[in-house]
């Protein structure tokens, strides 16, 4: 978000924006939503962007707000082996129920989904991840799982680099350097698969009488699943 977008903003402009939005649909939230909001005085404090900066740690899908610094595949390999491999596998194959880094190649992933074969266990960075900057965001924010947020920026860039290399992301060779310029240029293989939900996708009808012919085909739990009841505790 550029600063210029908000620099000249005022309540007067907001009123104009509401009027314009009726025809242009170029505007965001309906200011009518704020009409009923109470006017408040004397509560809270103003804060500077500089004071917020240590918390302003969100890196957008397109690389917006990515930090300074850089990382390499080789540096990432060392950190990964020490801090990540015990959960995500030596080769990114996952371990102890934690996510794998390397899933099926994207064409196989697509084919599995179309064939109705379980796709959850096939998922990895190479099929089920849209954008490289988001990977950096996740690692720097949330990893390692047992000590979240403890990697330096360079370490996080390096681990990002290494796991993309493990997952054979095109363009991420062993000499690739990850930084705020290079990450947004990476084309993640699964990116073209993403679609945005378009609203309700079923259309059941409220039938009340004789809603279908024939008998219901009733399926019970397969015996092989075993007992997963909570126990009759009463």
């Amino acid at each position: 978000m550029s600063k210029s977008k908000m620099s000249n903003w005022s309540l007067g402009l907001a009123a104009a924006a509401v009027a314009l939005s009726l025809s242009a649909n170029a505007f965001a939230f309906d200011n009518a939503a704020l009409k009923s909001a109470p006017k408040v005085l004397g509560v809270g404090m103003n804060i500077t962007d500089a004071a917020i900066k240590p918390w302003d740690i969100s890196y957008f899908y397109d690389g917006t707000n990515l930090p300074e610094g850089k990382g390499t595949v080789s540096a990432g390999e060392k950190i990964y082996n020490e801090q990540c491999a015990m959960c995500h596998g030596d080769f990114g194959e996952g371990a102890h129920g934690y996510p794998k880094m390397v899933g099926d190649p994207v064409d196989e992933f697509e084919a599995s989904a179309k064939a109705g074969v379980d796709a959850v266990s096939n998922r990895g960075l190479n099929n089920n991840w849209g954008n490289a900057p988001t990977l950096m965001d996740m690692i720097h924010r949330h990893m390692p799982f047992y000590a979240p947020g403890t990697l330096t920026t360079d370490e996080s860039y390096s681990v990002t680099c290494y796991v993309m290399n493990l997952a054979s992301i095109p363009g991420v060779g062993s000499d690739f350097v990850c930084d705020k310029t290079s990450l947004p240029k990476i084309k993640m293989p699964g990116e073209p698969l993403y679609v945005t939900n378009s609203g309700p996708d079923t259309a059941n009808q409220r039938c009340m009488k004789d809603c279908y012919k024939g008998a219901p085909f009733v399926v019970e739990k397969a015996a092989s699943i075993g007992d997963v009841s909570v126990g009759k505790v009463k």
Binding site: K5, W9, L11, S21, N25, F27, A28, F29, D30, A33, L34, S36, A37, P38, K39, V43, G44, M45, N46, I47, I52, W55, I57, S58, F60, Y61, D62, P99, A113, K114, G116, D118, A119, N131, T134, R141, H142, F145, G149, Y194, V195, T196, N197, N204, R206, M208, K209, C211, Y212, A215, P216, F217, V218, V219, E220, A222, V228, S229, V230, K234
Partner: protein, 456 residues
């Protein structure tokens, strides 16, 4: 048979009143007379006591009759009866790698209303529950705003408050049932959902205070736990990362959003985001960030790992669907359910809960014959926006097999789908938003089983 009762006994096959005695006849006449000759007795020939065994042992006093009980504040924060020790949250060990990034389930089989007691609210953590010191905690609101601001928890409590009862549901509720029947308990089929009275500051109050730029189309919240969880929330005009519009069904939910500090009247529990959390009624629970420390107004989504890796649906056409945000109309019968056994034939009351992320529940229909015929259930007040609604319907069980199920319709006209309808569009590999009609099978033995009907 009264008009609003649902039964498994064909009309006209009853032998009601056959065993009536002279005394009963007399009483019946008295009732009819007392009601001014109205037709009360005419339709109910049987009495409650007909055919029942008789208790003959003289009644004994219980031990509690001859002792003193506990004094006040012997339990400073009250606890349930020791005889209800089974009414607890439970988890499913094999579902997650550990209990830190995991989920627990509300025991709906043991609850009777629409409010979830705070100690039974389902838990979902991405990095465990933390104890945040409210005296040191702050909320920052910034981004596309006229004036970034910071608030203490006390500041937020000073602001105009908003209170509403809403459900909160993890979109993975029912996830284990996509490919087939798997769980033997209502707790595990529908327990990733709870309903509470939430109190806090409306998001729009904070938006007005900081002066949000009208060009902002999204905002996101961020927590102060180890996951620092963040999710993008669309507002009017929002488009995704490819410039495709977010459906209008999802761009006004933020208006009901609040920053909560209380749940059922008391401070939030640590499990639910103490001291403050974001709450967006009707949306999948993951978006209601716990331990909230930051709100940022922006003009595009983050597409966080929650939005690209986790809370997506791999569709049967191979595409990956993102931003499926609303928990659509859903319902389930919580009495009877697999956690109980029927105790002989005769009268029961079918009871259940229904909810929708699009608004109020309009109708709930109940079937006891596998969905061939339905009757409209009674909705128990209050019927509120994006809130659990209790429904009831008298049920006379004839001791034969029955397939009981409920179907909710919300005020938008959306009708809860069958599992077959859901699988037709989502396939069998989905995880999230399984809101299909739940079928319980009552066996002749009285056992109640979780089943699926595959062909309808």
């Amino acid at each position: 048979m009264s008009e609003n009762m649902i039964n498994t006994v064909p009309e006209g096959t009853k032998k009601a009143g056959e065993a009536s005695s002279d005394r009963r006849k007399f009483l019946r006449k008295s009732v009819a007379l007392a009601a001014g000759g109205a037709a009360i007795a005419a339709t109910s020939a049987a009495y409650a006591g007909d055919g029942l065994k008789t208790w003959t042992t003289p009644l004994q006093n219980e031990p509690t009759r001859h002792m003193l009980g506990r004094g006040v504040v012997s339990v400073p924060y009250g606890l349930p009866s020791k005889y209800e020790s089974g009414v607890v949250r439970r988890n499913v060990g094999w579902l997650t790698a550990d209990t830190i990034a995991s989920i627990s389930f509300t025991p709906w089989q043991d609850l009777h209303g629409i409010i979830t007691p705070n100690g039974l609210h389902f838990e979902r953590y991405h990095a465990g529950a933390v104890d945040v010191d409210p005296s040191k905690h702050h909320l920052v609101v910034h981004g596309m705003v006229k004036q970034p601001m910071i608030f203490t928890v006390d500041d937020l409590k000073r602001l105009p408050s908003h209170t509403a009862i809403h459900f909160l549901e993890c979109p993975a509720n029912g996830a284990m049932e996509w490919r087939g029947v798997q769980m033997d308990s209502l707790q595990f089929t529908h327990g990733m959902m709870s309903c509470s009275e939430w109190t806090g500051v409306k998001l729009t109050t904070l938006m007005e205070m900081v002066g949000v730029d009208p060009k902002a189309t999204w905002f996101y919240g961020e927590g102060t736990d180890g996951s620092a969880l963040q999710r993008s929330v669309p507002m009017e005009g929002a488009v995704d990362q490819h410039g495709r519009p977010i459906p209008a069904e999802y761009t006004s939910h933020y208006r009901d959003a609040m920053v909560c500090y209380a749940q059922n009247g008391e401070p939030l529990r640590p499990e639910n985001g103490y001291p403050i959390r974001l709450f967006i009624p009707g949306f999948e629970a993951n978006i209601s960030t716990k331990y909230l420390r930051r709100l940022m107004f922006v003009d595009k989504p983050l597409v966080t790992y929650q939005e690209t890796k986790h809370y997506i649906e791999v569709l049967p056409n191979g595409m990956i669907r993102q931003f499926d945000l609303v928990n659509e109309a859903n319902s389930v019968i919580n009495y009877p359910c697999p956690d109980f056994k029927m105790n002989g034939k005769g009268t029961y009351e079918i009871r259940g809960i229904a909810w929708s992320g699009y608004g109020k529940i309009a109708h709930v229909d109940v079937s006891v014959d596998g969905g061939k015929n339905w009757k409209q259930a009674n909705l128990v007040e209050p019927v509120l926006n994006k809130c659990l609604t209790k429904f009831t319907l008298p049920f006379e069980w004839d001791g034969e097999e029955a397939l009981i199920m409920s179907r909710a319709t919300d005020e938008s006209g959306y009708v809860q789908p069958t599992l077959k309808q859901l699988r037709e569009v989502r396939g069998f590999n989905s995880i999230y938003h399984k809101n299909s009609i739940q079928v319980w099978k009552i066996e002749k033995t009285g056992e109640v089983k979780n089943v699926q009907i595959e062909n309808v």
